[in-house]
């Protein structure tokens, strides 16, 4: 302790290098663990890596798919970041995304009108659906003080059942067909309602949803950094008491952030729906909500940093599709993802801890 304190002044410069090394070390450990897992279960490491590469980066089609996978991840992450800025932890994106897709599908299937308008309406509907689903825990929190984390988490499971319900009810979203032979899914959206695809095989082929998301990213970056809304949001996130004293309406701003987060997750569902999947299926969220949240965490709540992280995770997901050729189960992808998240949080936490040890100076967390 004493030694640490006296060393403090000299530690400042090497600290950056130290952190970098720490990051490198923990990522190495994570990847080594994943490698060991592959090798120990009797698979070839190089084949696995090659398959992942093929699936995510080799050729325009693969890159396109990686981008397609990254698109909803990024959108979910952006929502999570907005929430985090307001000091709220929304972990219900998986459900919000599903409900978004549900509403998007309902709009896309049943709304009459020119197809491009239906397409836009479907996306907006998806956002609205997600916001609605996030709105329930938001209301519960600001009205009754129900913990947001638990609220949003539990809503995920309610969403899954609701999704299953609507696709097994004839008068709701179940697909047409002969009774007794219909799957629990909606009809296929008509061609015109689907988001247009950009590029043509064998070149980069991806859905145009990515442009929507990039635009949203830029907007969020600017708003968070320069707008009064972003300023107030940061205030609320850092110190709710001071923010409220300065006239910030916590319920409106914080609840709004939660709604935005839900809307983004819902929109991600909408883009998955009309960008790739084409019909509503109760299992379509497929961990995108959870992983999007992890993207935000790894990106340490920086919207710009979220772009490469989302691409990386999207690439992993895309690459996972190629693992079948090596016999390595696809679940490897989630293992690697989780390990990487751990690797990403560890050094920061460790650095924080040693800083605290050195200075014994607290961050104000008084309750």
């Amino acid at each position: 302790m004493t030694a640490l304190t006296t060393r403090l002044p000299r530690m400042v410069k090497p600290a950056a290098l130290h952190t970098l090394l720490l990051y490198a070390a923990s990522f190495t450990v994570a990847l080594t663990l994943a490698g060991a897992l592959v090798t120990l279960t009797g698979h070839s490491m190089s084949e696995t890596v090659y398959a992942l590469y093929q699936g995510s980066l080799e050729g325009g089609g693969s890159i396109g798919l990686s981008i397609d996978e990254a698109t909803p991840l990024l959108l979910v992450a952006l929502g999570a970041i907005v929430c985090a800025r307001a000091g709220i932890f929304n972990i219900g994106q998986e459900g919000q995304l599903l409900i978004g897709a549900l509403v998007g599908a309902a709009v896309g299937l049943y709304l009459p009108g020119p197809s491009w308008m239906v397409m836009v309406a479907s996306l907006l509907g998806a956002a609205l659906g997600g916001a609605l689903w996030a709105g329930i825990p938001a209301v519960m929190y600001y009205w009754r003080g129900v913990n947001v984390v638990i609220g949003t988490l539990l809503m995920v499971f309610v969403a899954a059942q609701l999704a299953m319900y609507v696709v097994t009810q004839e008068h709701l979203l179940q697909e047409d067909g002969e009774a007794g032979a219909r799957s629990p899914q909606s009809n296929l959206l008509s061609e015109g309602v689907m988001l247009p695809r950009v590029g043509e095989y064998p070149d980069l082929n991806m859905t145009s949803g990515v442009f929507v998301v990039l635009a949203v990213t830029v907007a969020i970056v600017l708003l968070l950094r320069y707008s009064t809304w972003g300023f107030r949001l940061r205030m609320l996130g850092h110190n709710p008491a001071a923010a409220r004293r300065s006239g910030v309406r916590a319920a409106v701003l914080g609840g709004g952030a939660l709604l935005i987060s839900g809307a983004f997750a819902g929109m991600a569902g909408g883009i998955m729906l009309s960008g790739t999947v084409g019909r509503f299926q109760p299992g379509m969220a497929d961990n995108v909500g959870w992983e999007g949240l992890l993207v935000a965490l790894v990106a340490r709540n920086h919207p710009v940093a979220a772009i490469p992280v989302a691409l990386f995770f999207g690439g992993l997901r895309a690459g996972g599709g190629f693992l079948a050729s090596t016999g390595v189960p696809r679940y490897l992808v989630s293992v690697v993802t989780a390990l990487l998240v751990m690797a990403a949080v560890f050094p920061a936490a460790y650095a924080e801890l040693s800083r605290l040890r050195k200075r014994n100076k607290p961050a104000v967390v008084e309750g």
């Binding site: 984390v149 499971f157 309610v158």
Partner: protein, 281 residues
Amino acid sequence: MFAAIGEWIAERAGTLNISVEAMMLGGAFTAVTGAVATGSPEFGLLCGIVTGLVVALIHANLSHRLSVNTYVVGLTLNVLVLGLTSYLADKTEFFQVAKVAIPWLSDLPIIGSALFDVRWTTYLLIALIPLAWWLVQRSRWGLEARAAGENPQSADVTGIHVNKRRRQALLICGLLGGLAGAHLAVAEVGTFNTNMTAGRGYIVLAAVIFGGWTLRGALAGCLLFGAADALRLALPALGYELNAQLLIASPYLLALAAMFFLAKSHRGPAALGAPFVRGIT
């Protein structure tokens, strides 16, 4: 039930532990693996417990030593364990043999009463309930753990190692969570399947909240949610038609409703989920 007790302890000490799902799933997986490898279900239970402890150890050290957000850790652990168990289960195919190799745990039939014809782990559970209650409500350790959950700053100046207590509580939760998974796999079902726990950990979470952070309430919540599930499965047998989705969602809806209506009267531990860092006056 086991898991509910564990989760209750962890929450009273101030950790909102969402990795209980991971503990259960990991416990279930290694329990079957262990049982198959040695042919002894008891050894399987032990493996399950150890796995739960390992998950808890990671969680505890990350969030109560390195102060990483507990939800982040919990979430990541859930993803990790689900991926890992699915990965391994898919590959090594042992769960096919599992059923054969697992002899049913020693039955203790009391003649004439099917009610007492349960596996011995159930008796363990019954024994654990008062033990856990005593541990938390009456023991020195429990007092300190509760203090750590209520007001870590005050606890700290009183000489309690807040994070240590929280880690210990989490370890107990891991032990019980692992046991819960193992019980599910080895005693109740006899095999492992991918994502075997299927969200039961979250139901446990809901039960603890539903029970207003009392052990009685948490167990009652468990029984209620269990009953809802049983009802769902039994209703067709009774000839009633009720929407299955509604029933599956019912634990979550009930927990949400409980939180909504009881938010004012049933308060959770004051410092639930808040990390503790020493040095704040």
